[in-house]
Amino acid sequence: MTGPRHLRRRIAGCAMLASLALALTACFGSSKGGANDNPDADVTITFWHGWSAPNEVGAINANIAAFEKKYPNITVKAVGNITDDKINQALRAGGPNAPDVVSSFTTDNVGEFCDSKAFVDLAPFMQKDGIDPKTTFPPAQLSYTQYNGDQCALPLLSDAYGLYYNKDMFNAAGISSPPKTLSEFDADAVKLTKQSGDTYSQLGFMPDYHGYESTITHFASQWSPTYFTSAGKSNVADDAGIKAAFEWQKALVGKLGGYSRLEKYRTTFGDEFSNNNPFMTGQVAMAIDGEWRAGMIDDSNSKVSYGVAPFPVPDSMASQYGKGYITGTIVGIASTSQKQNAAWEFVKFMTTDTDAVVSFANAIHNVPSTIAALASPKVSQDPNFQQFIKIAANPNSNTTPSSPNGGAYQLTLQNLGYNYESGKQADLQSGLEATAKTIDNDIAQAQ
C-alpha cells in the first residue's frame, strides 16, 4: 500500500513531469517554414494588413481580386485592421492560423524582423524571377526595407508628409501663400488663431505631441537629423537638429496660448481617422499630415477647401524647402509560412506589377513605390497628389532609421517631448542625454 507521503510525492512528481514536458516543447518547439511548396498547386495564403477604413479595405480587396484572377490557383485570405503588436505576436507563434504575408504601416520594425529572421530574405526570390531591386524601387524605399544588407521586406506604396492648409481661413487672414520657413509658419499660425475664453474658436496649428501627426520625428525630419552614430549609439543628445526641433515646438506652443489651453482644446477633437478630424471640421487651419488625408477629405462630405504644400523648413535651411518626412507600408513573408513560393507570387504582384501598384495607390491616395509606377501616366494627376509625389522624390526627404528593437527609440524620444512641452522636463539638454542613455540601454537589452 502506498503511504500517504509517498503518494503525495508521486502526485507532485507527475505534475512536475507534465510541466517539464510542456516546458520543453514550449520553449523549443517553434515550427519552421520553408520555400519548398509548389506555387502552381491550389493553395490559400493568409495576408495580414492594417487597413480598416472601408475605401481602403475595398481597394486592397480589389487588388487581391485582380491577383486571384491572374493566379487562379492561389486564394488570398485577407485579414485587416491588424496592429504591429499582433504581427509581432503572430510571427512568433506560427501555426495554421498565422499569416504567410504580412504588411505593416511602419518601417520601424524592419530591423527587428530581419535581425530575428522572422521575415525571409527576399533576395533569392527576386533573383529567381529576374527582378533587379535597384532598377525597380526608388533608393529611399529600398533602404528602409533592408537591414544589414538583407532585403527582407519590399515597399508597398509609400507615404510623404506635408502641410495641409485651409484656403478659406488663409484668405480671411490675408495670407496669400503657404509658409516656406518655420518663422513664416509661426507667424501664420498665430495670425490664424482666434482665442475665445479659455479655448479657441479657431486654431492655426496644433503643435502638441498628442496632436495626431504632430510627432517629434515628423517635425525633426525638417532638420534632417542623425538618430544613431555609425557605432549604433543614440545620437539624440548630440544632434543639433533634434534639439532645435524640440525648442521650436515649445516656442510655438507658447505663442499659440500655452500648453494647457492647447491640451484642453485638443480634447474637443474627433478621431484622427474619422470624418471629424480637426482639419476636416475646421477646428485647425493647418496640419501636418500624410498624402492619404487628401483622399479622405475628398471621399468625405467635408466642405473644407484645402491646399497642400511641403512642410516649412528651418530658416537656416531655406534652400531645402520641398523636403518632408517619408515612410511607407512594407510587406514581407513570414519565415513560419509553409507556402513561401505562393506567398512570393502575391508579394511580387502587389509590389512590382505596375498596374497593381498604380491602381492601389490611386485608390487609397498613397504614393506609388516603384520607379515604373511613379512614371506611369495612370498615376493621379491631381495637383494636390502630385505635390506629395514631389516631396517623396525630394533628395533631402528623410525617414527614421530602423533599429534592432523597432520603433522603441522613437517612443522614448516622444516621451521626452511630452515631458518637455508640459514643462515637467525643464532642461532640454539633460533630458536629451537621459533619453540617449535610455535608448542605448534598451538596445543593449534587446540584443
Partner: protein, 324 residues
C-alpha cells in the same frame, strides 16, 4: 493523502479496511483530478517557467539562453517605467482601497438606516459594480473629457474649475478612483451583511450608557466589523495589484492616439500616470518581446501578491479554514 470517510468507524485493521482506504484514495483523486491537473498546468508550470525565464534572454524567436541577473538589473536600474509603475501601484493600493472601503461602509450604513426605498437605493448603488470594466472606463473617459464632457460642462457652469481628469497627470489617478468608487457595490453589500449582524442589544446598551452616534460607531460597530474590514483591505490590495484594464483603456482612449498599425501606444498616458505593474508585463512581454524582463515584473507581482495572500491566511486563518 489519507482519505477517510466523513465519520470513520474505528475497526480492527483488516484487509477490508485496506481495500477501503485504497478506494478512498482513488475517490479523492477522482474528485480532485481536474483541479490537480489544472493547478499543475496553469499554476505550477507557468510559475516555475516564469521564474526560470526571468534569468534568460528570450525574444520569442531564438531559444532562451541563460543570462544571469541581466534582466533583473535592467528592470530595476534602467527600465524607465518600472519605478513609476510601482509608485502608481502603491498609490492605487493606498488611496483607492481606503476610499473604496470608506465609501462602501458609508453606503452600506446609509442603505440600512434609510427606511423608505432602501431596496431601490441598494439596487442603484450596486448596479454600476456590474458594468463591464471596458464599458465603464469608456463612459468615464467621455463623461470626464475636459473639452466636451458633461462633468466639466457642469463644473464650469458652477464656476468650480475644470480639472483635466484623464488628460492631466495629476488628475488621471483621481479620475480612475472615481470610476472605482462608482463600482463600490460589492463592498457595500458585504458590509451591509455584517452591519445587520451586529446584535441590537449592544447598541441599546451603549445608548443607555450615554454613548453618542460616533462613540457607538467606534466602540460597537467597528470592533464587530474588524474581520470583514481586514478581509476587504487584503482582497482590495490584491485586486488593486492586478489593476489593468481600466488604466490601460483610459490611457489609450484619452490619449487620442490610435493603437492601429504602425503605431506604438505610449504606456500610461498621460505622462506615465496611469501605468501599473501588470501593464508592464504586457509592454515588455507582448510589445517589446523582451520576455526575460517581462518575467522579472511577473515575479515582482507574484512576490507582492503572495505576501498579502499569506497575511490573509495567517490573520484570517480562523475563517479561511473554517471547518464543520
Amino acid at each position: 493523502m489519507t482519505v477517510t470517510a466523513t465519520r470513520p468507524r474505528r475497526r480492527a485493521k483488516s484487509p477490508g479496511l485496506r481495500r477501503r482506504r485504497r478506494r478512498d484514495h482513488l475517490r479523492a483523486l477522482a474528485f480532485l483530478s481536474p483541479w490537480l491537473l489544472g493547478t499543475g498546468l496553469f499554476f505550477l508550470y507557468p510559475l516555475v517557467t516564469t521564474a526560470w525565464l526571468s534569468f534568460t534572454k528570450y525574444d520569442g524567436f531564438v531559444s532562451p539562453t541563460w543570462d544571469g541577473l541581466t534582466n533583473w538589473k535592467f528592470v530595476f536600474q534602467q527600465y524607465p517605467f518600472f519605478w513609476p509603475a510601482l509608485r502608481n501601484t502603491v498609490w492605487f493600493v493606498v488611496v483607492l482601497v481606503t476610499l473604496r472601503i470608506i465609501a462602501g461602509l458609508v453606503l452600506g450604513m446609509l442603505v440600512i438606516h434609510v427606511k423608505r426605498g432602501s431596496s431601490v437605493l441598494r439596487t442603484i448603488f450596486y448596479a454600476p459594480y456590474l458594468a463591464p470594466p471596458v464599458a465603464g472606463t469608456l463612459a468615464f473617459v467621455f463623461l470626464l473629457n475636459p473639452g466636451t464632457g458633461p462633468v466639466n460642462a457642469i463644473l464650469g457652469r458652477l464656476g468650480l474649475g475644470e480639472p483635466g481628469w484623464f488628460n492631466d497627470p495629476t488628475w488621471a489617478k483621481p479620475a480612475l478612483t472615481l470610476l472605482a468608487l462608482w463600482g463600490v457595490g460589492d463592498l457595500m453589500v458585504i458590509f451591509m451583511a455584517s452591519l445587520l449582524d451586529v446584535p441590537r442589544e449592544l447598541y441599546e446598551a451603549a445608548s443607555l450608557d450615554g454613548a453618542g452616534a460616533v462613540r457607538r460607531f467606534r466602540h460597537v460597530t467597528l470592533p464587530h466589523l474588524r474581520p470583514i474590514l481586514l478581509f476587504a483591505v487584503i482582497t482590495g490590495v490584491i485586486t488593486t495589484m492586478q489593476y489593468y484594464t481600466e488604466p490601460l483603456i483610459a490611457g489609450q482612449v484619452s490619449s487620442g492616439q490610435i493603437g492601429g498599425s504602425g503605431q506604438q501606444v505610449e504606456p500610461g498616458y498621460p505622462g506615465g500616470s496611469t501605468l501599473t505593474l501588470p501593464q508592464l508585463v504586457y509592454n515588455l512581454g507582448f510589445q517589446r518581446f523582451d520576455i526575460g524582463a517581462a518575467c522579472v515584473i511577473a515575479m515582482v507581482l507574484f512576490v507582492l501578491s503572495m505576501a498579502f495572500a499569506a497575511l490573509l491566511m495567517r490573520r484570517g486563518s480562523g475563517f479561511l479554514t473554517a471547518e464543520d
